[in-house]
């Protein structure tokens, strides 16, 4: 495992609350091929509402079949299908060859029917996993939908809260949205609060690949429930810039990163605000990672900032890699906000949001070509967002930004090298 942490600048002003950014980078260790991997305990929750009829349900069934085939007898799986009725199609079972055969037969019977009780279907799937939780396994619920939750709990904040509570108790949730009609904000919110992954499945034909990719990830988890811990001296404010949930208690901030997959790479951006100080004094920040099972090396890395006068502050070099990582995070966040605003018909606000972040970035871009290009892209997008944007394009932009924020590639997969 490697953990590095780099500041954008190393001097801070004594008479102003200096704001500095840190780029923490984690590379998870490689899975030890000589040792048995952890068992997984999964629930597949499948939307079989009427709109899933035809190709979508057929491909979803195939995705389930392929996902189940990848498991072996030390793993468990369950299948829940929902429309306005919830069916536990396959009760949680260990993935023996006979159980898999029976399950495939049951899955083949799932047909598209009614409306969409996403919440109860998902909770039932989580319950299937929860009833058979064991230590040292990866517990995850995979939720696939093509539409809006229109029966049962439909409030996004409530669903996110439940996802967070269930994740705290060891079961993560990953979500898959198919087509144009689902609510990407809600699905990503559930996955984010649930410490799992969100994927936009633009075309039904991608369903099997995305599902098996997610199953594959669970089979390669090397560290569960990882967190980045930041310890500072009193008076320093830590603000993680990114989609991860975090809590601060005293001088300690913890950022929840979810499960890490073999050799996965993560970039995490932090904003720090320093109190007043005296020239020559240094203030230290220690950054470390932990995980539920103590697999990751907890040795912290340390950054020391020095209070200095204006001259030294103005003249100090900037770490451009950090600047770029910071800019990407702010840009991605603004883009997701612009998607929501454009969807809601607030075109002026959407456009302004993008333009203002573009301006900010240009402010510290200097002559850096990447930052300049990013600012230009935001300007262009700002113009486009001043009018209604097609739903498919909105979903593409939303997904692309979600992936940037979580250091994932264009299809939502894990990044394994810088």
């Amino acid at each position: 495992m490697t953990l590095t942490a780099r500041p954008d600048r190393l001097f801070i002003r004594r008479h102003a609350r200096s704001q500095r950014f840190v780029l923490a980078q984690i590379t998870a260790p490689a899975a030890d091929r000589r040792r048995e991997r952890s068992a997984v305990n999964l629930a597949f929750v499948l939307d079989r509402s009427g709109s899933m009829g035809g190709e979508k349900i057929r491909l979803a069934r195939r995705a389930l079949e392929e996902g189940i085939r990848r498991l072996d007898s030390k793993d468990r799986f369950a299948v829940v299908a929902y429309d306005d009725a919830i069916d536990v199609v396959v009760e949680s079972t260990s993935a023996s060859p006979e159980a898999k055969r029976n399950a495939l037969a049951q899955v083949a019977r799932i047909e598209a029917r009614g409306s969409t009780n996403l919440a109860d279907g998902w909770l039932r799937g989580c319950e299937q996993v929860a009833r058979h939780q064991r230590p040292d396994e990866v517990d995850r619920c995979l939720l696939l939908t093509d539409g809006l939750a229109n029966v049962g709990i439909t409030d996004r904040a409530e669903l996110e809260k439940h996802a967070a509570e269930i994740a705290m108790r060891g079961i993560t949730t990953s979500t898959f949205g198919v087509g144009l009609d689902f609510d990407e904000g809600m699905l990503e919110g559930i996955a984010s609060s649930g410490r799992g992954n969100f994927r936009y499945v633009e075309h039904a034909v991608q369903i099997p690949d995305y599902i098996t990719s997610e199953v594959g990830e669970t089979l390669e988890v090397v560290a569960r429930d990882t967190t980045l811990c930041i310890e500072t001296e009193p008076g320093v404010l830590v603000d993680p810039i990114g989609p991860y949930r975090s809590h601060t208690s005293g001088t300690r901030t913890v950022v929840e990163l979810g499960d890490l997959v073999s050799e996965q790479h993560l970039d995490i951006v932090l904003r720090l605000a320093f109190p007043y100080g005296q020239v020559g004094i240094t203030t230290r920040v220690r950054i470390s990672v932990t995980d539920r099972d103590g697999v990751l090396d907890p040795t912290p890395v340390e950054i020391a900032w020095e209070y200095a006068d204006h001259h030294r502050n103005d003249a100090q070099p900037r770490d451009r890699d950090v600047d770029r990582a910071v800019a990407l995070q702010f840009a991605a966040k603004a883009r997701q906000e612009a998607v929501e605003l454009n969807k809601a018909g607030q075109y002026r606000t959407a456009s302004d949001r993008l333009a203002s972040v573009g301006r900010r970035i240009r402010g510290y871009a200097g002559s850096d070509p990447e930052l300049i290009r990013l600012a230009e892209e935001l300007d262009e997008q700002g113009v486009a967002y001043a009018a209604p944007v097609a739903p498919g394009m909105l979903k593409q932009h939303h997904f692309a930004s979600a992936n940037v924020r979580r250091s994932r590639d264009a299809s939502g997969g894990v990044r394994r090298e810088r």
Binding site: A85, N102, A105, E111, D120, A130, R131, E165, R169
Partner: protein, 220 residues
């Protein structure tokens, strides 16, 4: 504070109480306790008879169990996982008061929050969706020929039946509900339930499911 604000505050507090899960007084009926602890009511009665749990306050329809019972059930579960025999578990529990049990079980932040099963069931219960029975359903025997699942029959007969059994249960369900849940009791038997049900009917359904499963597992 002025009267209208006080009324508003009282209303707010009352609303918060209703929304709390589980019951704000931290007392449970037998079936609520069973759901939260992920055991059957029969098991709880067995533990009481065997001296692992103390008898609850009152008896009959108003029997109430408290948090101490829930903590003890969790501790029993944990000790069972460590392969202790029940006699040994009883000896240990007898020696502990509720606070000590709570400390043992609530040692880590995780245990204090309760398990995932407990949380999920408390959400489903508060929405009138019955949790799955603690016993696993019968395994699927062989594959079945493909056949589309039939829509459940019109609700009228079902409502009349429940009303006949219940007597003074809740008011008839509103006509626009259409959420049916199917529970598989065996490969050839299903129970169709229209949600949401009243708490009383939920408990009846749970009993029905336990009895059905016992019947189906009997060897003729």
């Amino acid at each position: 504070m002025p009267r209208p604000w006080r009324d508003l505050l009282t209303l707010y507090c009352a609303t918060v109480k209703i929304c709390q899960m589980p019951d704000a007084a931290d007392e449970y009926t037998l079936s609520d306790l069973a759901e939260l602890a992920d055991v059957t009511p029969r098991t709880i009665r067995y533990y009481i008879q065997g001296g692992l749990l103390r008898s609850p306050d009152v008896a009959g329809a108003n029997t109430r169990y408290d948090e101490g019972h829930l903590w003890r059930l969790r501790l029993i579960r944990r000790l069972q996982r460590e392969h202790l025999p029940l006699a040994e578990i009883r000896n240990r529990l007898i020696a502990l008061d509720d606070d000590q049990v709570r400390t043992l079980v609530g040692g880590s932040a995780e245990s204090a929050r309760g398990s995932a099963v407990e949380y999920i069931r408390s959400v489903l219960t508060s929405r009138g969706v019955a949790a799955q029975s603690a016993r696993p359903s019968a395994p699927c025997r062989g594959s079945h020929p493909s056949r589309p699942a039939p829509r459940p029959p019109a609700p009228v007969a079902g409502e009349a039946h429940l009303a006949a059994v219940g007597g003074a249960s809740s008011a008839p369900p509103p006509p626009d509900r259409s959420q049916w849940e199917r529970l598989t009791l065996s490969p050839d038997l299903e129970l169709h339930i229209r949600r949401p049900l009243s708490r009383l009917d939920n408990r009846r359904v749970d009993r029905l499911i336990s009895i059905a499963r016992q019947l189906l597992e009997e060897v003729p």
